[in-house]
Amino acid sequence: MTALAPAVTVAPSRRLSPLTAVANTFTLTWRSLLKLRTNPEDIFGLVLTPVMYLLLFTYLFGGAISGNVHNYLQFELPGILVLAVIFSTLGTGQALSEDIRTGVFDRFRSLPIARSAPLAGAVLGDVTRYALSVAITLAFGMLLGFRIQASPLAAAAACLLVLGFALSMCWLSALLGLISGSARGVQWIGSLIYFPLTFGSNVLVPTDKLPGWLQAFVKGNPLTFLTEAERGLLVGGPVTAAVIRTLLWSLGLFLVFAPLAVQVYRRRT
């Protein structure tokens, strides 16, 4: 029994050091990654979703939009990259809502750890998921015949840019996870926002083929800028304007949704 009881009685510390906050965040990042390793269905979802998108859209739209599958793949792959990563950000909110529902968050909040650590740890862990999603989309796309036509440096920049954007978007997802009571709720509300946002862009279809009113929406959609930047960085073309706009949008989304999510998180119960 002695093993369970307090061994030494040291006076507790008054404040939490910043170093502890960093250590707490890394511990919870480790937790998030551990789930990826121990849950096969999670890996399957992460791997198979981009594969499905590529197979489906390439052969469904290839002939109709670009005349042949190869040309369409060159056009569409940067878009699929965006699609796959954006949708995987929904997982962040779902995991958070599960933690709240099951009481795991209450346990964290009763521990002497940094208040921000559970949120920051979850987000950091998810960036790894997004990176995996990017890698799989690129690898499978290349298997189907996609060719990177820009420099390796530009391609690396493309990967970083889409990851950076996802890192901002995941705060919206986190906010949804904190305000909706269940993973299913996140899925629902998330889909209502994400579907028009992703498909109502130039991800799959060139903007000039769309009716005028839709063009107006597509041209203002941040995912259109992101996709344009990805196309430029992976297959060539003008990039500067698109990259700058994407970075500004990333920053803007982060500045709006990260503080909101943190606010809701702090106020919760």
């Binding site: 029994m1 006076a11 507790p12 121990t38 099951t102 795991v104």
Partner: protein
């Protein structure tokens, strides 16, 4: 427990581990806690008893720094739970009503994670996790995801998780709800062992037997207010007199017995359909011989007759059932 008191500034005054005064908590228009007072002595189990919705969980959540009260004070080992939340979190462990373990992680990793969050080194955290899993009979399931655990196993893992940091004060919110008798007994023996080592336990429960078995002191709350405090024996004594249980040989005579008790003596009998016994609280034991004579005169053959102190169940019923109704209207 006694010798620990002098060693550390973290121990509350006069061996008091938890002190709550006038705690008020409102959720919108509902007043969940309406001025709750309670005191837990160091190294004892304080039972917080009450029906569903009485405010038990709200008290625990305030003490565990999960919610902020609207008024009143609460201290744990001398630290104010609102002003000094960080020190309080280093001293307490919490096991909630629902097992708050990460279902996707293994039992082992759940405990290692808590250890690492508490600033224990990796090696130590692993050793501590293995030790606790062994102690709670979970060693075999250590590497399986917690979602594959049975209810009892999950509850044990949850308790183990709250003990990783060797807390000085432990909050157990309905720890045995839904557990089978064997798991419940195991949990009871763990709680007894902890208090023997000087840990203070605040336990909420709806089971009076549990409170009777485990608690040194009991605070009964209802509708956010304390309605009784005392040791289990004191509470039983509060319901005056004794309980008479009469089992007639012929169950068909039960209505007649009830009539005699209510009509002639203005008592409030209750009949258990399982045992066929009519139980009634008797304010004055001098009344008992007269009652039995009357039943005999009525020709009722009594198979079993018992006179005993009231059980906590009966105390509870008397305390919560006989209360004056709340004044209508919502506090502004």
């Amino acid at each position: 427990m006694g010798d620990m008191n002098g060693q550390t500034p973290a121990t509350g005054n006069d061996g008091i581990a938890i002190e709550v005064r006038g705690l008020v908590k409102r959720f919108g228009k509902t007043t969940a806690l309406d001025g709750v007072d309670l005191t837990a002595r160091t190294g004892t189990v304080l039972g917080l008893l009450g029906p569903n919705g009485a405010g038990k969980t709200t008290v625990v959540r305030s003490l565990a720094t999960l919610i902020r009260a609207d008024a009143g004070t609460a201290t744990v080992l001398g630290y104010d739970v609102q002003r000094d939340a960080h020190p309080v979190r280093q001293l307490v462990g919490l096991t909630g009503q629902y097992a708050s373990v990460d279902e996707l992680l293994s039992g082992f990793n759940n405990l290692v994670m808590i250890g690492r969050l508490l600033g224990i080194s990796r090696g130590e955290a692993k050793a501590r996790a293995a030790e606790l899993l062994e102690r709670f009979d979970l060693a075999e399931a250590a590497r399986r995801p917690a979602k594959t655990y049975s209810g009892g196993m999950r509850r044990r893992l949850d308790l183990a998780a709250s003990l990783v940091g060797r807390p000085r004060v432990l909050f157990l919110d309905e720890p045995t709800t839904g557990l089978d008798p064997r798991s419940r007994n195991e949990l009871w023996s763990i709680v007894r062992g902890l208090t023997a080592d000087g840990v203070t336990v605040l336990l909420t429960t709806q089971y009076l037997e549990e409170a009777d078995q485990l608690c040194h002191d009991i605070t009964v709350i209802d509708k956010g207010q304390v309605i009784a405090t005392g040791t289990p024996d004191e509470l039983k004594a509060k319901v005056s007199g004794q309980v008479l249980a009469v089992t007639p040989a012929d169950p068909g005579r039960i209505p007649q017995i009830e009539d005699i008790l209510t009509q002639r003596h203005r008592l409030a009998p209750a009949t258990s359909p399982d045992s066929g016994a009519v139980t009634v609280a008797v304010p004055d034991s001098a009344l008992v011989p007269a009652l039995i004579r009357e039943l005999d005169d009525a020709g009722i053959v009594i198979e079993e007759l018992a006179l005993r102190k009231p059980s906590l169940d009966e105390v509870f019923l008397a305390l919560t059932g006989n209360r004056a109704p709340e004044p209508e209207g919502i506090p502004q």
